[in-house]
Amino acid sequence: MTPETPKETKTDACCQTGDVAVVDAPPPTTRRHFLFQIGIALNVVAGALITVPILGYVMSAFVKKFDLEWTNLGPISNFPEGEIRIANYENPYRRPWDGETARIPCWVRHVPGGTFQVFAINCTHLGCPVRWFAESKLFMCPCHGGAFYENGDHAAGPPPRPLYTYEYRVNGSNLEIKAGILPNIGNPGNPTEKVKGEA
């Protein structure tokens, strides 16, 4: 079906033009064969050399450890004892072109007695933003109906664990948390937290 192009069958013309080498394969020890092998070898080396920086660039997000940083949530007086309030903080890893995505919300619970609990906004199921309902004292998730008690424990629905918490400290009159990551099951982001009730 395919009409053969004449060039490929004209073996006798090869030696004048020099570009078509369909004659008998040259003996493996010729200079051409040697150049071919050198060419392959050089390209293997060059390929490896260029792959290193490319892979390094691409994989840097995978291997890099991002340390959490102390981030200000504002004066403690914003968080009355016994109540749960929302607070926004500036992501410590922000870029100048992050716009509004640089401001992250979280829930602050001022436990009666002077301690705090700071919860991530993200539902532990699939990360949707949980909302606090002060009357029923529940965090409810708009996605699949997950609910949490005021201390973060699982109350209902699919979430597999209590709300993620941030490590906090009181610095002078300010409340600070260690922030910087999107908490997820693979990296809950608070090494000090003791997870009970992990299902």
Binding site: W97, E135, P142, H144, G145, P158, I181
Partner: protein
């Protein structure tokens, strides 16, 4: 005279064509591509979906390129450029709409194409690679649909990435690292958007073009699948000869004799996309991608709605399985299909299992999608202040019962429990709860929770519980009796076992 001139012109034109043909080999290329011979039986309305999918892709490439001339993939500007496209630049809304509807049509038509190919046995010998490249094209197209939904950088996109990250985070051992890889860092920000942009406009379109070249090459090399006949089996030894005979006996050139229906279908598709674009317009953007606006209510686009539903319906232990184990296995099965089912019957009437598989998949995915859109499992976050109580549920109640209704409303019970259909659908409707549960059962359920209900014990005063229970006991439709005492037999044994399901739920930390 005129005839002479005509002849001269024709000769000149033929001569010019001959010259060009000699340089470009147009005739030869045509014979091997658009003009290749196909079985006459395949010039059918059932065979137009492949070319229609390709047409959608071309529309996507053109509109996508035009959108990219304005769109800025940066977290602080993307949203602004989307609204600029919608409202300021002439016909920008139209291009966004065509791109959005083009993607919907592409996914839908591709699914039809794949179903047709499956039911017609076209994946069998010798078209294994055609099928496998098609599976890759499906995956890339879904990838484009997902990353495209992120390009519409609004609140849904923001929380949608969060959902993607949460699923990724469940990978064993490397979960945290995989999330960083997905987001381009530890958190959702500009780098996340840029990385999805690179995928959406460079990586995935590049891949799809490369694989389409392979796909079409295979269609040309191995031919288009002949219309299957019941009882004609595919046999590796004889099939090639059989196909060659079909082409020799009843082959027609694809262009111009076989392409007519494809052209008409193509025009219909373009018309459909335009019509949808004009009637429904572009999708979104919804609210800005501002994480601090937490009254978001994230929903994926329809192609991923079934995943959203699966996420809500799965028991906890099955979720990692459902998200990270089953999909790769399913894809592997799909991919390898021509190897474990390579020969034999092609016609659907002789392949009941194939037909049932298709029915099962469409029914279950369809049902999950419908559920996803209605999402009865999501609480109605504003029901506690916005849901009304129909008159029959207020009339002739005692003061204590009315107090109970106020508690019910104020304690946000309506977010999950409707009264006569008004309110959240997460929990059972309370319209007839008094005929299902007795006062002690209701009190226990409220205080201790159970099933999927949180415990309200520390949250209600004894007086509030009394009022609430009194109100609910009064809720039994006219003509039904109140529920019997639980001490007597024949009352809802599952309510008792439910209450024991999660005893720890009742022990919230002392506040």
């Amino acid at each position: 005279m005129i005839a002479n001139a005509k002849k001269k012109i024709t000769d000149a034109a033929l001569g010019a064509f001959g010259w060009l043909d000699d340089r470009f080999h147009v005739t030869e290329i045509f014979e091997h591509t658009a003009g290749h011979h196909i079985p006459k039986s395949t010039s059918s309305w059932f065979y137009v979906f492949g070319s229609a999918t390709l047409l959608c892709l071309i529309i996507q490439l053109i509109t996508g390129t035009l959108l990219a001339m304005v769109y800025v993939p940066s977290a602080d500007q993307a949203y602004t450029t989307l609204t600029y496209l919608n409202y300021d630049i002439p016909l920008g809304w139209m291009l966004r709409a065509i791109h959005y509807w083009g993607s919907n049509f592409m996914v839908a038509i591709m699914l039809i194409h794949m179903t047709q190919v499956y039911l017609f046995g076209a994946y069998k010998y010798p078209r294994e690679i055609t099928w496998m490249s098609g599976v890759l094209l499906l995956l890339i197209t879904l990838g484009l649909a997902f990353t495209g939904q992120v390009m519409r950088f609004d609140e849904d996109a923001y929380w949608g990435i969060g959902i993607g990250a949460s699923i990724t985070g469940r990978s064993p051992i490397i979960g945290g690292e995989a999330v960083q890889m997905l987001l381009g860092g530890p958190i959702i920000n500009s780098e996340t958007l840029s990385r999805f942009f690179a995928l959406h406009v460079f990586v995935l379109p590049g891949a799809i073009l490369a694989i389409i070249v392979l796909h079409l090459r295979m269609v040309l090399l191995k031919g288009i699948n002949e219309w299957p006949t019941p009882g004609v089996l595919v046999n590796r030894e004889t099939y090639d000869k059989h196909y060659a005979t079909i082409i020799r006996k009843e082959g027609i050139p694809f262009t111009p004799h076989g392409i007519g229906k494809d052209l008409i279908a193509g025009a219909v598709v373009i018309g459909g996309i335009l019509l949808c674009a004009i009637i429904f317009g572009p999708k979104g953007p919804l609210g800005p991608p501002d994480p601090t606006m937490i009254d978001a209510h994230p929903r994926p686009d329809w192609a991923f709605m079934w995943i959203f539903a699966v996420a809500a319906l799965m028991p906890d232990w099955a979720e990692t399985l459902a998200f990270l184990v089953i999909p790769p296995i399913a894809i592997a099965f799909l991919f390898a299909l021509p190897f474990y089912n390579n020969t034999g019957e092609k016609h659907w009437s002789r392949r009941p299992f194939a037909v049932l598989t298709v029915l099962f998949l469409y029914l279950s995915l369809g049902l999950l999608t419908v559920w996803g859109f209605t999402s009865p499992w999501s609480p109605d976050m504003i029901a506690w202040r916005a849901a009304e109580t129909p008159a029959p549920f207020v009339k002739a109640k005692t003061p204590l019962e009315l107090q109970g209704l106020v508690v019910l409303q104020q304690k946000q019970c309506r977010n999950c429990h409707a009264i006569d259909g008004i309110g959240g659908k997460r929990g059972p409707d309370l319209a007839d709860v008094g005929s299902r549960l007795t006062a002690p059962q209701l009190a226990r359920q409220v205080i201790q929770g159970g099933g999927n209900m949180p415990a309200y014990g520390k949250n209600l005063t004894p007086y509030e519980v009394d009022a609430l229970v009194a109100y609910m006991v009064s809720l039994h439709p006219p003509g039904t009796t109140p529920a019997l005492d639980s001490a007597k037999p024949a009352v809802y044994p599952e309510e008792n076992s439910k209450k024991n399901a999660k005893p720890e739920a009742a022990h919230g930390e002392a506040g």
